[in-house]
């Protein structure tokens, strides 16, 4: 039985049959009329009867329709052809000589050959299986009758090696004599591509899980069966240690009952939040503030809980800090208002006493009252400076370009106005511009230049310098004076609030100015330090975030 492996549908055959059935009588009629008309003209005497001719030709047409196109015969062969033509597996029929006799459409699609090119080709030039070539394979098939599901390679016309899963069986004739081999092959390229995509996608998700900022774990049958490194890190365990733990013992004892109740209710289908804040216990017993999210998933065919954990310790600290800041603000406000009011009364009424009753008091009493006045004034300054210090910590820094040279000049001018008689030379570097908060940087320069002005006040002549220099590749700004200076042994105390290196009988002050400077510089991401020598002056250096 000869199969035509090319795709020809039933319809195609029906068309051919119909054409034969109506064409043959027409041809017979035409030929019949021609013999009737033309033969006598040509003086040919033998004239077959027309009816005879018609019947003859029609009969021939019917024979053709039956034999070639299977008219009115059963159609298993047509069905088989259809199946073969539409199947996606490759099918190759090989003769006993090892040459291809037939192939189906799928084979042509896979290999890129035409049917003509393939027929009569050595099968060994197309099919190889591992170390075995096509011919050896054929022999094997003929010996064993069939071989199944082996991977092999088909060599396509363009040189591509196509991986296939193939089986082969011997074809025998009626006398059970082998006449060839039929080979079916499943194109593995799609499958391999799918597997590759699957692996890539799996790798992608694995990377996502491994590098996630949140801890991820799967909990099943009362223990962790999977965790990412972040999860282990958060709790202070290694991945191996995590495997045997249960979630319950990792929850803070105070919250265990609540969590367990929730878990039970959730599993019972009740509406419970699946994300909540909870305290977890680390390996070392310390507490981890966490936001935990649960999802019931199917893992290896059993229900499991997918747990994601976000560390909220920082958030907690921040909220607490904000709270403290708010309290500080309220405190500053009340200091500003409430502490100053009684102070004003003390100062005011002492002054009134001095003014209205000064004459009736003796010198000692007047001196005491003056001391009260001076002390209240000093306390007023202290309160103001403290408020300034706290404001420096609280205000938001607004960055802009600030010309420190211009600022220094204006501060110097203001200082000179307070004591026009003093011989102080200001040397201010030109065009020093920085990025920073204008009002805060002004506080820095006011304090540093103000200090220089104050601590040179005992010298008949003074020199105050604002400049810019470089140290270890950093830009450093400085304010230098040749005044009272300080002992380097106390250099570390300079920036402590209320810490003074000079008695108030020498130089007045509250001891908060440099602490304020330091906070401002810190908030600008810089640092501040000082060098000095007693009676040889002091230099204050500061840097700002570049």
């Amino acid at each position: 039985m000869a199969y035509n492996f090319e795709q020809k549908t039933k319809k195609f055959y029906e068309k051919k049959q119909a054409r034969l059935l109506y064409l043959t009588p027409i041809i017979a009629l035409i030929l019949g009329s021609m013999t009737d008309v033309i033969f006598p003209v040509l003086k040919i005497n033998f004239v077959p009867p027309v009816a005879c001719l018609i019947i003859l030709i029609w009969a021939w047409g019917l024979v053709c329709a039956i034999t070639r196109y299977g008219l009115m015969t059963l159609t298993p062969s047509v069905a088989a052809e259809n199946i073969l033509a539409t199947m996606t597996d490759s099918l190759i029929l090989v003769g006993m000589d090892g040459r291809i006799t037939k192939v189906n459409r799928a084979t042509l699609n896979i290999l890129g050959y035409t049917a003509k090119e393939l027929v009569n080709k050595e099968v060994s030039s197309i099919v190889t299986a591992k170390a075995t070539d096509g011919n050896a394979l054929l022999r094997q098939v003929l010996e064993q009758g069939r071989i199944g599901s082996r991977s092999a390679t088909y060599l396509a016309k363009n040189g591509e090696k196509v991986p296939v899963l193939f089986s082969a069986s011997a074809v025998k004739d009626r006398a059970e004599e082998p006449v060839g081999v039929v080979i079916t092959g499943y194109d593995m390229r799609e499958y391999k591509k799918m597997m590759l995509n699957l692996r890539r996608s799996e790798e992608k998700y694995r990377t996502l899980v491994d590098h996630a900022l949140v801890g991820i774990a799967i909990h099943q049958d009362s223990r962790f069966i999977f965790a990412n490194e972040r999860f282990a890190d958060m709790l202070g365990y290694t991945l191996a240690e995590i495997a045997g733990l249960t979630i319950v013992e990792r929850v803070h004892p105070d919250e265990r009952d609540l969590i367990m109740t929730r878990a039970r209710r959730r599993q019972a289908g009740e509406n419970e939040p699946d994300t909540y804040e909870v305290r977890l216990l680390k390996k070392d017993g310390s507490v981890l503030y966490a936001l935990v999210s649960n999802a019931v998933v199917d893992y290896n065919g059993k229900p499991a809980t997918l747990i994601t954990v976000a560390d909220t310790t920082d958030t907690k600290t921040r909220i607490e800090l904000e709270q403290v800041n708010k309290e500080l603000e309220a405190f500053s406000y009340s200091v500003s208002h409430d502490l100053r009011a009684p102070l004003r009364s003390i100062a005011g009424f002492s002054r009134i006493l001095l003014e209205d009753y000064g004459d009736s008091l003796d010198n000692k009493a007047r001196d005491y009252l003056r001391r009260v006045c001076a002390a209240t004034q000093h306390m007023g300054e202290l309160i103001d400076d403290l408020l300034k210090l706290s404001r420096v910590t609280r205000v938001e820094i607004r960055y802009e370009w600030v010309d420190l040279s211009v600022m220094a000049h204006s501060i110097a001018a203001a200082l000179k106005e307070t004591a026009p008689g003093r011989a102080v030379e200001f040397i201010i570097a030109r065009e020093v511009s920085v990025a920073g908060d204008r009002s805060l940087l002004r506080v820095v320069l006011e304090n540093l230049l103000g200090n220089a002005w104050k601590f040179t006040s005992k010298h008949p002549r003074a020199r105050i310098e604002f400049g810019i220099t470089e140290q270890d590749g950093r830009t450093v700004y400085f304010v230098r004076d040749d005044g009272a200076g300080f002992d380097m042994a106390y250099a570390n105390k300079l920036f402590t609030p209320f810490q003074r290196l000079h008695g108030s009988n020498e130089f007045d002050g509250t001891g908060i100015g440099l602490a304020t400077v330091q906070r401002i510089i810190y908030r600008h991401g810089g640092s501040v330090w000082a060098e000095g020598e007693v009676e040889r002056g002091a230099t204050f250096y500061f840097t700002l975030k570049s």
Binding site: Y333, S336, A341, S345, R351, T376, Q377, G380
Partner: protein
């Protein structure tokens, strides 16, 4: 010459004493009306409560207003004053010990004319009050509406 009235809204008796003393320094005679809280201040300004029946054609030339007051605070008093035609143009000087930026901003936003922080130093305080008096009672020209209510 019209008698000029200063309305002092202040709850702290010490501050009242000191401010009145500072206001009395100098030779200009003014009547100083002292009220102790926000409600009383509004009563005086609009002739209600304890001040029912007061001649409302006589309005203070300037109001000195503390911010922290019992019952109704200073900013609220200012808001009422600026919302009422009768008191809309009366100059208001905020006198307070607060230097909170927020208070300062709110004061100006609600239409305060000056904002003075009470200094601890009494000499400075007298000077500040003196300047205020000089400016608001003598130099400042009030809008015509104020004179013919």
């Amino acid at each position: 010459m019209d008698k000029k009235i200063i309305l002092l809204v202040e709850d702290n008796p010490d501050d009242v004493e000191l401010t009145v003393r500072a206001l009395k320094k100098g030779n200009i005679l003014n009547e100083i009306v002292v009220v102790r809280d926000g409600v009383e201040a509004l009563d005086y300004l609009f002739g209600t409560g304890a001040y029912a029946g007061r001649d409302l054609s006589i309005m203070p030339t300037v109001v000195m207003l503390d911010l922290k007051l019992p019952k109704i605070d200073g900013l609220e008093v200012l808001r009422y004053m600026r919302a009422d035609e009768r008191t809309k143009f009366i100059p208001v000087v905020i006198l307070t010990s607060s230097r909170e930026e927020q208070d300062l901003l709110n004061g100006y936003r609600l239409g305060a004319n000056s904002y003075i922080r009470k200094p601890v130093d009494f000499a400075q305080f007298i000077e500040a009050v003196h300047q205020l008096k000089l400016y608001w009672l003598i130099l400042n020209e009030l809008p015509p509406r104020q004179r013919t209510p």
